[in-house]
Symmetry: C2
Subunit: 492 residues, 2 copies
């Protein structure tokens, strides 16, 4: 490192002014092209993260920039998986989000068992979650820039001393915890080694001479944004296939569900009453054991999802469950990765979230209608498995139900709806259009179940031709899976 | 009350089925007409709030219904005013939001000093906040339905005993705290008396016979919704004036600011350095004393807001400030009251939020352009004063700056921008159109400052004809107001 005396600060200031103008110019392109950007600052205490990220903020337009700091996590954050807050706070398309500390700092705090509500033991699984999280965003077009700041011990101590000497900033200096800082550096060193093998390498910055560090940071940002814009333009000009790549096959999980399985009315009543009572107990036990439960309902139009969900929630305490319905995405949702809106609705520990349709739309309607490109929906099998794994790693129970009815039964129900003034609002032209695509939907669902039916998050196809049978069968499935996870052999 | 034996449960079931169908039908109208609805359930422990609100949920369409439970507040909630979470979780237009416990329960918990972070002492001010909050929403077209549930002591104890006897629900029964419950009832009784005088009366329901209570609740909801829909239709057919009611006057706070006040370049540098250092100390002190700071910037186009804000945040720690910019509202924002989006961005205790334009758009562009009706913007003076009072009651410092430049100076800056390739993006056709309306904007701003310049949230008009003078003047104003509030005579 050159001595301070030889540094030409005037020259650095001139370069900085140019870089700031360049950064502003590139941000306007980023915004116009709707490219999302994440910029991470990590580094030990007093290593310049605050100053550098503030310099970046000053160069950017606040309308298209957000800033997130990771401090001690709140209870809300600890009651959800590691990557929840970062998934929810991922940039909308065209936005630049800056992270002062990030999922890396939170990861280190979690594995050091610093919090009461900590659910994690398996470091490797968490590191995989981080990689999956970054890759899903990068594949979606996100530019991820990660800075790791270095500072000499002398400079670090000088910063801390300055803060300590001023009575009004003293309290901040007191937050410095040498042992903690060492642990952080130790773990980061391991992560930095791994991290350099993925698509978003770490950029190291020496902070000892601030003016030089600022320029280095801005130079890195502008050069990466320039490349990203060129890459974006190149990709945009490539043709994109959206034909769903259907092969005309119909074998798979849905085979053999056309026949009608019925249930006796009296048996139905008895079973329903028993299952609802047990479901209520399951809910209270989930809460007490702080386990989140996902129940995902998919199925044919008029397959009976609504009536099914009603029987599930009837006995429940409304303060601990939510029914999340999934329709066409709104403006804000369209400006994020398709998984974003589901991250915003995951249940916190101890709560139940029921999804009336879900992220699986990516593999059904979006594939069939060509809303997602072939590349996008093909990638989604893995992305969805990763998403669900994040939940089950955290201790969640994930149950996915597909309500199947035969083509004839669907026609009967459509016609019923159309002739009942209290139900006619339920049927739309879209339902009839979807029905015409019955066979390719079958293929899409067979592919989906084959590739996303996993031990930690199983699919169960329910024969829905008899509504009562399906209600009991679905509820029984949910109750039994939960009871098995929650109680030991003696029912405790 | 009639004895249980004389109740015709079959008849009640029949009536309930009809009410459920009716509720669903009315919700579809509510949704189509974009009427927001809030339904509150209050009552002592085990008085049936959960069961009744779940029955209501079952009658509604989950796509247009949200449910919020008030439990022990989180740290995030305690770091903001009482009504923050309820303002943020107010229904979007067409939605029905159900509140299991509400701002009333939180108010009682706060005045009983149950939480460490409690900022409130003045009960009366809080009750006024609640009334203002409800009135602002009602004036905006919200239907507010408030239920207070009554239960006999015997029935209450029976519910608690049942929960206690089942080992899986036992923990819930243990949450019952008789003393707490009594305090709650005591305070609610006072509120119920007051509450009946406002536009949203309390509806009392006897819960002892559940089936009867459910029907009573659904009957109340359907009858209020029917009236609200009729009222909505009547109001929609009335003509709405949007002419801004301008009188052609130009006297007021903006008088005398056309002349140019300048500052010497060297004095500017020295003052700026001193003020930025003090501002940094102010920030750390705000954080330590847990005081939120609002700095609102309004002013003419090209008035220098951007450069001004830059000098303010340059010395700050980015983890404790945010710059919130205000542009035309997006889809989600348009589906809420105009104040909603600002409630979502208020600073938490100890943080600084800087607004580059703000809720005052209601009284400027929305009045001038007729986006708000005369009724709407006329009401907004009071609503905005109430909103700011909610913040200052909580301990916030609220500073509002208006950057004034003369018409000639604006023309010069517009022309500069248009001829500079790095600045041309800053100027739009809208800027030129606004300029043509200079005189009515002057009248709007004079009215605005006259009616919203309050001791707890003052307006300061800054002469912006010299950019450097304005930067120093604005920063000096902010620093001095804060220092006066934060330090005693000895600077501690």
């Amino acid at each position: 490192m050159s001595a301070i005396s030889t540094i030409d600060f005037k020259e650095l200031k001139k370069e900085k002014d140019e870089l700031v103008v360049r950064t502003g110019y590139l941000q306007r392109l980023i915004m116009a092209k709707k490219i999302p950007v994440m910029i991470v600052f990590e580094g030990v205490h007093a290593s310049g993260k605050g100053r550098l990220s503030n310099e970046l903020l000053l160069a950017l337009d606040a309308r298209y920039t957000d800033f997130y700091a990771t401090h001690k996590p709140t209870e809300d954050e600890l009651r959800r998986p590691l990557l929840w807050q970062y998934s929810v706070n991922a940039p909308s398309y065209g936005n630049i989000n800056i992270y002062y500390r990030s999922w890396y700092s939170l990861y280190i705090a979690l594995i050091n068992q610093k919090f009461e509500l900590n659910r994690y033991a398996d470091k490797k699984a968490l590191v995989k979650e981080i990689r999956d999280f970054e890759n899903t965003l990068i594949d979606d077009g996100t530019v991820l820039i990660k800075f790791y700041l270095h500072i000499s011990k002398e400079k670090q101590m000088e910063h801390i001393r300055k803060m300590r000497e001023n009575p009004r900033t003293m309290w901040r200096a007191q937050e410095y915890d040498a042992e903690n800082d060492e642990k952080y550096e130790h773990e980061m060193r391991k992560l930095l080694k791994d991290g350099n093998h993925n698509e978003a390498p770490w950029h190291h910055i020496e902070y000892d001479v601030r003016e030089r560090a600022v320029n280095e940071m801005l130079r890195t940002v502008t050069s990466i944004l320039e490349k990203a814009i060129a890459e974006h333009d190149r990709k945009s000009s490539e043709p994109k296939e959206r034909d769903g790549k259907f092969k005309g096959t119909d074998d798979g999980a849905l085979e053999g569900f056309d026949k009608c399985v019925t249930i006796d009315k009296k048996v139905y009543r008895e079973k329903l009453e028993d299952l609802q009572q047990r479901m209520r107990e399951v809910q209270y036990t989930l809460y007490q054991k702080k386990i989140p439960l996902f129940v995902v309902y998919e199925g044919w139009d008029a397959g009976g999802k609504g009536g099914n969900i009603k029987r599930l929630v009837e006995p429940l305490d409304p303060t601990m469950y939510i029914v999340n319905t999934t329709a066409a995405p709104n403006e804000t949702e369209r400006n994020h990765n398709y998984l974003w809106r589901f991250w915003t609705t995951i249940p916190k520990s101890g709560h139940i979230a029921i999804y009336d349709r879900s992220w699986y739309g990516r593999l059904m309607v979006e594939r069939v209608e060509g809303f997602a490109t072939n590349q996008e929906w093909s990638r989604a099998y893995q992305e969805i498995n990763d998403f669900e794994e994040s939940q089950t790693n955290f201790g969640a129970i994930v149950i996915k139900l597909f309500l199947y009815i035969s083509k004839e039964e669907q026609l009967k129900r459509f016609e019923d709806r159309q002739s009942d003034p209290n139900k006619v609002w339920k049927i739309t032209d879209e339902d009839w259009r979807n029905r015409e695509k019955w066979d390719i939907y079958v293929e899409a669902v067979n592919d989906m179940i084959e590739k996303t039916d996993r031990k930690n998050a199983p699919w169960i196809v329910i024969n829905g031709n008899d509504k009562k049978y399906a209600r009991v069968k679905a509820l029984e499935t949910i109750v039994e899976i939960c009871e098995k996870k929650l109680y030991d052999k003696n029912g405790n």
